[in-house]
Symmetry: C2
Subunit: 215 residues, 2 copies
């Protein structure tokens, strides 16, 4: 198909297609004859993946480049695709967390029985949040780590269930990338929904308990 | 204390203190005599809260204004403080999700037994992620909603456990704000850590199972 049809089918403007091609996010089309380029379904699929990552997941162009390079690299193991996707979708804290906050996270990670490398981007994310708790004199809030970690175990298990071992590598790599990037948004969204629900339940329980026995 | 001491104690520059005062994030100090203003411990505490929200939580000045106004408003119920904090820390999707994606989320929410208003910001967040799944032809990934929702219930319950009913309103309001804003980061961080751990476990299981019985 021509670039105009590729644009219609994918919903991505011609200008954006040309930009993504220049940035190496999408392979150039096949040049046929004078001033014409032909594209196929693989270009449509790639453009939709790019849109999901950039528009849906809020990734930058640079982060999208890294993630797509990991999807395309047949030699890269799936565990490493996870690492690339995690890094691409992690907002690095503005300042490096202190060694003591980092040590508290590493010690929690060990006690929880998790075996992870010190370069996992989650460690700095959690450490910088703990520093903010310290700053507002709420060191006690570190206790949420235990229930949160239990929830994270469950989430990670279901993330991995989406990547069956007998699947083609490219599909698995795409699942890892899309799931890691969009999973944070889904989780943050469901947390907001659950907070409202449970908050209403507790308010209802607190106000009806004393004297509305048969209500 | 003078502004120079306030700056030293809080770790916030004099220029930022003046800026936050102009933007109404912090009350003006008490004017004493010629060209001098006096601040007290409440200013130190407020500056630390602002830093936690802006530097730690990545909130904008405008979002921080909304959140602090909710903390300061004695008439606002704590359930509404949650709503304000949620909204301030939710990145609105670039485009409004389609009615069909929104309806799928609302139907999931009903089936899960959650009672929430249609304006809960989590609904649009989840709907836009589902649209991205559709776009890359991975509608099957909607199935992660079930395990994720179970995890979200657990997280929301522990968020609410941090707000005991017999506590002073201001402290509860601050906990809600700090916990809601930083909780997303902690959760995203722990998810990355758990993903690496469980991914290693599965790879180890897959490679050792066939012929390393006694390894």
């Amino acid at each position: 198909m021509r670039i105009s049809e590729l644009s219609r089918t994918s919903g991505v403007s011609v200008a954006s297609i040309k930009y993504y091609t220049r940035e190496g996010l999408i392979a150039a089309g096949e040049r046929v004859g004078y001033n014409q380029t032909r594209y196929d379904d693989s270009h449509v699929a790639r453009l939709k993946l790019i849109r999901a990552l950039i528009t849906g997941g809020g990734l930058s162009i640079a982060a999208t480049q890294n993630v797509l390079a990991a999807v395309d690299d047949d030699q890269l193991e799936l565990g490493d695709v996870f690492a690339v996707a995690q890094r691409a979708s992690s907002l690095a804290p503005e300042t490096q967390p202190s060694p003591s906050a980092t040590e508290r996270v590493l010690s929690f990670v060990r006690d929880h029985g998790w075996d992870v490398g010190a370069s996992n981007p989650g460690i700095a994310m959690v450490a910088s949040a703990l520093e903010s708790f310290d700053e507002v004199s709420r060191t006690d809030l570190i206790e949420i780590l235990t229930p949160y970690a239990g929830a994270a175990d469950r989430i990670a298990e279901s993330d991995l269930d989406n990547v069956p071992v007998d699947e083609a590598r490219e599909r698995s790599a795409e699942t890892i990338v899309v799931g890691t990037v969009l999973g944070d948004t889904i989780l943050a969204g469901l947390r907001r929904i659950a907070q409202e629900h449970h908050s209403k339940l507790r308010i209802a329980a607190a106000t009806s308990a004393p004297d509305h026995e048969h209500a």
